[in-house]
Symmetry: C2
Subunit: 432 residues, 2 copies
């Protein structure tokens, strides 16, 4: 890979007008336009490109795209082998540039941009080797994977030595797990029926058809009206029965006290978790809610970096770790979070949905199963049935399980037609 | 103020080439160009403008400026009274817009931009009433000030009722404290001598002349080389003697374990605090360092919002609260942090330095003294002698104390000549 040289990095603003149908609506985000800051790494080798994205919900994508453009100078002219032979150094260049980091650090717009570029590198690397990214990682020796990880600010919770021991444990029966995930797929849960902007009939209809298609795990958005939430929980429990799993997601709409009051009457629906009951920064608030309600806490989709995950895990304020490889600084930092969570015995259920998140997070979940946690128990990957048609290698879900992607790359590549139509503001979808 | 209408908000990128002299250099930021995302609110009233800035260190200022531009639509066309009569609603519009918040939320580029606009509003409000901002706030009834504050996500730690009680306590002998601060000024400490890029001779010279000018509190940047740090501490202690205060600042360069090892040999210099020994997000890491070294912790300049301050205060991981009114979402959120810190008995020493931070933070420190903590004991405001000459109402420091600003506004207005010269990239300073 020494002869693969980055010629340029394109940064594109891609927006899907999902707010027109209220797809993706929740208590906190009533009308999102699912969007992506999209990075394309072009190389000197004809047809070899890396594609990476970070998910956004409309306004602000322009800022992320400007940040990708700004970071691209750290990638241009580099060889692929130069990048991947020292991933922590490459990551540090992007995430902790001595001037740019001030407007983060390692959070917000610049970190989202970092994710898009890092993910494009993983896509490029996987394509150069002709493997899906999960397989590239699964086939690495533990020493090689440890060398990819930036341990800064987390070494007290997870030293390189401990990570190595963990990954060596992960070598045991690895090939069995590769076989298992190829044959059985990875467990999923369904959110497509539960958006807050959907009326009761639509929820009933979508939920029934999902159940009939084999789904047994569902998520409902809550937090706009308690009366509505109770009625919607009743509708869903009526369809899915008592044995299926029901998760609730409040998208940070409550103060701590409100969360506790609101959740009391919802306990009877036996939620597997309450997701993001309050601010994504409120470690102790999440802990308080968990203690007061007894409902397990899922959070992490807006947990901005490995250091914040360290806080939540240390405080035992996170029962399900929903790391998002596009919110933290890309797949590499997400793998560090897998290891941190495993060290604390917390299952990882990566954040998906949005646009392209199902596509990337399936790689992460499969890596967790094959290399780190070695189990699917208590794990599940969100599935939302939106926008997959725009990807070259869209997720394949059958009977409530993800089938591992088999094409080379990180599954982040958009169809050319999608770019033409949804580029913002010039694309056809936005001109009308 | 009903007839004062915002006509437009200008967003400017202002950069000072400070890296040429290594002013402001530290272990984490070896060559910053002190910069500002600068917002000017223009009104329908001739000559009445509001000026607000957020501090940056070079690259990335363009992103903040783009975000200010994006947020300006929420300000244009509004009346000043409409804004200030419901500051929490105005703040929520800027900080939690339903789409833009995804690329924060309340952190990074978008939150820095929010700060610039909110600070420009305070400047405009103060100018419209013909008062310095600290006096505008000091003269508010407790009920009015409480109505300015956004309690979302912190009400469990500080309810509006508790804030009101606190501010009512602050009414006691208020006029005496106004008189006191006008006569005696506010205590300061000096960092101008302690930049990491300065050689021993320069440190010795600057430190000696500061001591001779009446300074008795000094801060030194550490963390690049332990041998250097020990020698530099010896030089400074040699000049300032045993009774003067010495603060150390590592600007987040260490992992937790490194910080503990590094600080052991520095304990003998009896630092008043170690500032930012590790990641600004690492609440438990700061606590661990404090426990292991016994050195009090100062942090907060990159603590991105009131929720993060709640974490540090709750965990007792912050002994000195260094809130920065340009890092959190402006002066209003910084006042919420004053109240949170007071509730936990933690002294506030706001972050200054950079460009324009001394100018804004003096207002905050004075408000803390007059309305909240009612004491200057254990409080001090950093003073760095850079770039004040570019402001219309620069800070006045005499004998190691800040003299309260007397001109109307929040002291954020740059001279027209400074804008012409340092606008980036078109200004004269950048063309050469």
């Amino acid at each position: 890979m020494k002869d693969i040289v980055v010629k340029q990095v394109l940064a594109l603003d891609i927006r899907f007008p999902t707010s027109r149908e209220l797809d993706g609506s929740d208590a906190s985000n009533p009308a999102p336009d699912y969007s992506a800051g999209y990075a394309i790494i072009e190389t000197n080798r004809s047809g070899l490109r890396g594609h990476g994205l970070t998910f956004t919900i409309g306004d602000g994508t322009d800022l992320v795209v400007a940040a990708i453009h700004s970071l691209s100078r750290f990638v241009r002219g580099k060889t692929l082998s130069g990048i991947v032979d020292d991933m922590p150094a490459f990551y540090a260049t992007l995430a902790r540039d001595q001037q740019l980091k001030w407007v983060g650090p390692e959070k917000g717009v610049v970190h989202l941009a970092c994710a898009a570029i890092v993910n494009a590198v993983w896509d490029l690397w996987s394509k150069a080797l002709g493997k899906p990214a999960w397989r590239l990682i699964a086939e690495m020796a533990p020493e090689q994977l440890v060398r990819c990880i930036d341990f800064s600010y987390i070494a007290d919770a997870l030293s390189p030595r401990e990570a190595l021991d963990m990954l060596r444990d992960g070598e045991k029966s690895k090939s069995d797990r590769v076989k298992e995930v190829m044959e059985r797929g990875y467990p999923a849960y369904n959110t497509s029926a539960g958006w807050i902007g959907y009326d009761d009939d639509k929820i009933l209809r979508l939920c029934t058809s999902a159940r009939d298609a084999g789904w047994d795990k569902f998520k409902l958005k809550v937090g706009r009206s308690l009366v509505d939430d109770i009625r919607r929980c009743e509708i869903i429990r009526g369809v899915i029965g008592d044995d299926a799993l029901l998760m609730l997601d409040a998208n940070q709409v409550w103060n701590v006290g409100e969360a506790i009051e609101w959740l009391r009457p919802l306990r009877k629906f036996r939620p597997t978790w309450i997701e993001e009951p309050t601010s994504c920064d409120d470690v102790f608030g999440h802990l308080e809610i968990k203690k007061a309600t007894g409902i397990p806490i899922a959070t992490g989709e807006q947990c901005h970096n490995r250091v914040m995950f360290k806080q939540f895990l240390y405080a035992k304020a996170m029962d399900y770790c929903q790391v998002d490889p596009c919110r933290v600084g890309g797949l590499t930092e997400a793998i560090a979070v897998l290891l941190l969570a495993h060290a604390k015995g917390v299952p990882v259920c990566p954040h998906t949905g949005g646009v392209g998140l199902c596509e990337i997070s399936q790689h992460l979940a499969i890596v967790d199963f094959i290399c780190v946690s070695r189990t699917m128990d208590g794990r599940m990957l969100e599935y939302v049935d939106h926008l997959h048609e725009h990807f070259v290698d869209p997720v394949q879900v059958r009977g409530g399980r993800y089938l591992p992607p088999m094409k080379p790359g990180l599954s982040q590549e958009l169809m050319t037609e999608a770019i033409t139509e949804f580029a913002y503001p010039g694309g056809a979808a936005w001109k009308s």
